[in-house]
Subunit: 363 residues, 2 copies
């Protein structure tokens, strides 16, 4: 099938660009002796997770127990859930997974560790734990202070948990390359403080897991990091281009859309709105617009309704109902999460259709 | 099952509030002799569409041919697709639907009308048409000027199309009650101009279809409107409360979430982020925050990650990991669109689970 025959709107993945992105990150990690554990929340597609593992990823990261279940069922056998899982039901499901695959959880509180330990003991399985520290993002993670070291000590002593080390998420390290420089320096001061704290009471940290996509290729400059968990790098999006971590030529996933109305002056309406692209704003910069129109940057996607993308046109721009365009979303992760399937293309040919099997796995 | 046993995050629908919202709008329309054709993009749930029809709706509105297919399969027999459908494949699917149910399309260009007419002629079916005019929103819709009247005339003359009248979407009429007053006055001047234009060349308009949720209960004040298409009213959300069209007691759908981390000072993290609530900003006012915490308005949901909702806490606020809260989203439509199912509750009891059958019907 030719790409022109895909019913729009549709999410299209360029296989050559995807493969290149997967390999580039794998090569970078190999060169710098970093374990690569990609966050599969970006794609939720078992086929891609396997591709990442085949190219050298040590395993994968997920955000949900349900996503872990989908990936384990597809044959991925080393999974870390970077999310503080709460509740008997989720801990029970975790032990079921631990019977099948190597499973770990990154979390930040004693009650959760105790719950997982109890459940693991009952099921006679072992669950990996990584303790999450806050290095500046201010979302999850313990503060770098004495009380936290004591929590770490107590978690280390819990039965049926396999102490793996520590985890952090540098979500605050974004913006362009220059603005990230100062942030990386500050981050290293935080990490050094953290290592001093843990060394002080002899808590080992064989795994130090960090990393996000904007700063991924700087990961070797973060003190002590052994593993990174970038997600977006394999597709890229307007955010990663904005962060100078990729170019538009590195964007593997685009929303294919059709112009459906040109009735309003200086406007063309496409059949992809916030229910295809998501309403996510740009993470940094001017936070304007909702996507980048491939090969026609003069078309500005300045507003979204649920099913309408509002393009602002230059004077007398030649565009008509039925024309097709491709849009790089601001943030590819929520856009993929709105699809049941993606169309895989090689050049102009559709070579595969992949199910987004992890979509809808909300809990 | 008790609501406490639902795995979080989950979207919960309060049946009593839903029923009341459905009836209130139906009563309003009956009292004012307005046809009610609710936009089912809000819920995408056939069960609710049937409830709306049983309570007096003349039929339903959808945005997608695929949504129409789902609703027709569920037994809804009068459907208008308010969207300019383009392409042979979609026109063919339209004719298949026209064989089963009464189907209409609101659109705004001659090429689309011609395509639908050709397809309908070939299949020997009839498709209703409503011509969309732009009364100020600036999205779809023809301008109120002589050229448009001629397009209307040509569409009226196309074979196998059933001319039903005109359609408009007053998406620009929002904000609080006071700010809507001036907008309604301006809208009426536009509508009067439109009727003069059509009367001038004797184009009939038995249906004048308009209406949105913020201004729904003012619909009788819009000159000449015969039908309204509100969607959000049956659930309501932070936007409709902000528009003074509802109170939080009228919000039938909430996201049930669990506190999963309180490690960062003045923060509690819940397990509902933008992949549950959507990243939609408030439509008007200060456009701040991402939802309203039911019964605990002092908790401010000031940021969302994909799977984390970031609550800002007052000093020494008593909250801990495992606590559950319910959040009214800014915009309920994209939030429902992220769910495979919703949990229907009566008081504290889960009485049903409804599949969001129209979700994922992107094209």
């Amino acid at each position: 099938m030719n790409i022109d025959q895909i019913e729009t709107p549709a999410l299209v993945v360029d296989l050559a660009v995807l493969n290149r992105n997967v390999r580039t990150m794998a090569d970078y990690c190999r060169d710098h002796h970093l374990a690569l554990r990609p966050h599969t929340k970006t794609h939720k597609i078992p086929h891609i997770a396997k591709l990442q593992v085949e190219n050298g990823a040590c395993g994968i990261t997920v955000a949900k127990i349900s996503e872990a279940e989908v990936m384990a069922a597809a044959g991925i056998d080393d999974i870390v859930i970077v999310y503080p899982l709460w509740g008997e039901s989720k801990w029970h499901r975790l032990t079921r997974l631990a019977e099948q695959v190597r499973i770990g959880v990154a979390m930040d509180s004693l009650p959760i560790a105790e719950g997982m330990s109890r459940a693991a003991k009952e099921a006679n399985v072992e669950i990996g734990v990584r303790l999450e520290f806050d290095t500046g993002f201010g979302r999850c993670g313990l503060a770098i202070e004495q009380d936290s070291a004591e929590i770490a000590q107590r978690i280390m002593d819990l039965p049926h948990l396999r102490w793996e080390g520590i985890s952090f998420y540098p979500g605050h390290i974004m913006g362009d390359r220059q603005s990230r420089e100062a942030a990386i320096e500050m981050e290293n001061r935080q990490l050094d403080r953290l290592y001093s704290l843990l060394d002080g009471i002899s808590i080992p940290y064989p795994v130090v897991s960090g990393g996000n996509t904007p700063a991924a290729f700087d990961s070797h400059r973060f003190h002590g990091v052994t593993e990174i968990r970038p997600g977006t790098y394999l597709f890229n999006d307007r955010n990663t281009v904005d962060a100078q971590s990729a170019t538009y030529a590195d964007c593997a996933a685009t929303v294919l859309a059709t112009v459906v109305s040109t009735s309003v002056q200086h406007r063309a309406i496409i059949d992809a709105g916030s229910k295809m692209l998501s309403a996510d704003q740009l993470l940094s910069g001017e936070r304007k617009n909702f996507g980048y129109v491939q090969d026609q940057a003069e078309l500005i996607l300045d507003d979204l309704s649920e099913e309408h993308g509002h393009l602002r046109l230059p004077d007398a721009y030649p565009i008509q109902v039925g024309d097709r365009i491709r849009v790089v979303p601001n943030h590819i992760c929520p856009s993929v999460n709105l699809q049941d399937r993606v169309y895989v293309v090689s050049g102009d040919q559709v070579v595969d259709v992949w199910k987004v099997a992890g979509r809808g796995m909300v809990n």
